[in-house]
Symmetry: C2
Subunit: 433 residues, 2 copies
Amino acid sequence: MIVIHLNAFLFACGHHRAAWRHPQSTVERLGDITYWEELARIAERGKLDAIFFADGHTPQNVADGPRWFFEPLTLLAALSRATTHIGLISTVSSTFFTPFHAARMLASLDHMSHGRIGWNVVTSMFDAEARNHGFEAMPDHDWRYARAEEFIAATLALWDSWADDAVLNDRAGAWAMPERVVPVNHRGEHFSVDGPLTVPRMPQGHPVLFQAGASEQGRDLAARRAEAIYAVAWDLEVAQDYRRDILRRVREASRSDAVPVMPGLVTYVASTEDEARAKQRELDELLPAATSLRQLASFIGQDCSDWDLDAPVPDLPPLETFTGPKGRYATILRIIESERPTLRGLLGRLAAGGGHCTMVGTPASIADRMEHWVRNGGADGFNLMPPSLPGSLEDFVDHVVPELQRRGLFRREYESATLRGHLGLTRPECRRG
Amino acid sequence: MIVIHLNAFLFACGHHRAAWRHPQSTVERLGDITYWEELARIAERGKLDAIFFADGHTPQNVADGPRWFFEPLTLLAALSRATTHIGLISTVSSTFFTPFHAARMLASLDHMSHGRIGWNVVTSMFDAEARNHGFEAMPDHDWRYARAEEFIAATLALWDSWADDAVLNDRAGAWAMPERVVPVNHRGEHFSVDGPLTVPRMPQGHPVLFQAGASEQGRDLAARRAEAIYAVAWDLEVAQDYRRDILRRVREASRSDAVPVMPGLVTYVASTEDEARAKQRELDELLPAATSLRQLASFIGQDCSDWDLDAPVPDLPPLETFTGPKGRYATILRIIESERPTLRGLLGRLAAGGGHCTMVGTPASIADRMEHWVRNGGADGFNLMPPSLPGSLEDFVDHVVPELQRRGLFRREYESATLRGHLGLTRPECRRG
């Protein structure tokens, strides 16, 4: 039997960059914790595996729209008290944090939530973020991945510094056994940390490690360390290629565990295809054309300010001749080739989820496509990226989830109370040095 | 009219080192978030100004008893959702954190709690903690205080990086005004941070700064920066000296604000003096004598393992001749001189609150003494250190608080919804560079 895993990736007013401009948007509530509690409860009503937060360390261009508000670890702590079963995944940057802080906060959260925490390891991207953490610019890719590797090793060691049975609560004797709470004495290129942690061993053993490996080093890191993987796949073929590659690397790393691969997925759901397309168009039309065209110009390396918004996008030069960043350019070429969109349609696609897959349609047609991806090796689940919140998340939970449940592809009730349980992952042994 | 400020300093099973050994102790619940929620609600029922958490980065001797469990920032996030009015104060170490992380998490919490957050700045103490954060040993006192000074400056600058009116939520225009969200470009000896923060300006302007300055540098830092001050005072005379000194330094720093000074206070409350003393003795008798005697030996620089536990403590050599750390030794001399305790009584005093004041008695007699301290320049309030939890906190809230309220010394209802409001502090202006 196929079981689909579903995360809700919650971001500001939604993943569509113009979502906050909608008259009914939640933009006034971004600093209101009850807004995030409501979203978490909608996801939990849908029995999703987890909610997930990205993170950034610079506000970027605040005129264009909101990106960040609450810091994700404090946010997840609050949300752990508004929910009972759903997993709670936070991004923590291995470039900007240090292992002791990350290990301690995530451990605290895993206790608080009774075993529902996941950690999405990222190495961060922008110079402006690096300059908030003492760097002059973002350290290069190799350095960041070497640090991430060491960061994970040190963090796992700290999480293993308390044996499962270390705490005795023996009122006439010892609170905990000193010989079961041991230093880790990590000495590496990037970190020096003695341990032990201040927090006893966690309900899940340790939080579930997520990673989104894209580059060669990222894929290798994910294959060696990640217990679940986020992916970026515009279409099934890309998804299959990525999943095949990453699972090969997992096997080569001598791991026998099943590592769920979850591509991002933007959905516009309605009771007819036309209505679903209208929902998408409504958001696309809120995009300020000038800003979007300037951004597209930077992606494709040519001015497009006088192109007709409602005409098909003109043909672009082939990938081989393009000298800018190729990944996004390749995605743009694929969108144009497969969908022949108008210029406004292309801007809308790029404004919601970037290179991630978008599915527009009825609950049945979207469930068909999701099932097709899962049955054909493209995914073990999806990282849902609702274009507008709470609407797109509610549409998915109330209409697509029941359709997946009817097909036996998704749980009707939680069968576990931990994120590991939802994902079918085993509790790791405590490995003492 | 005199108004007393009251914080509840929540620590493990209570501040008495043997509290966890009591048959009814909460030691099994330290990792259960509902235990901390219950404590926070008891304090809120008593209309206290705030609850307060210390922090440490090493578990110390885990056989002797529990010290830490939840990390305090994630803990406060959860507690902000279980309470509505009470202030929430976390310790954050300026030696182990960096300004961007601290500013961002505390800002997130201030939004989440609608303006109830306080930050107790500490420079940390132990080599074992330093070795969890990349140091070989704890950096020296001067270095730590120079770093703390710069840490506070950079953090305040980040908190001012968003103007109060920066966010517009203008759906047809800008989310926020870029010219009102500005870099801080801090370049110092210890930190380099560009800003701006990712979090808009907070309900309180910024969290309330607490400090517990003891050394010369600590007192100067507190006088320049703290908005409220924790103190250590064994008796009224020490409290008066400290408060007089710190308020002189506040004036010398050209500050006109009233800075509440709050000494720590351990209380044993019961309906008769005898019952109160019996409560204290019950905890003292749970102390493992051998461990306590070893500790006392280290404090006084001589072996005391064969002294009689139930006889008065023998006279000790005068302070001038003692070559170890003088502060604690002086406190021990004062306890012996003023109370002529048995050895067991002395061990008990040292095991609950260390050099802080202890009051044992009826609600009226304790309220008398608190009032005396406040009317005679010893304190603007107290940082309550319940020796056992939840019992000692409940005793105080249910019996001493009503007595203080009857005397018009303490609020009957919250008159504000922010920590600044409770403490009578003004909301700071946003100072843009």
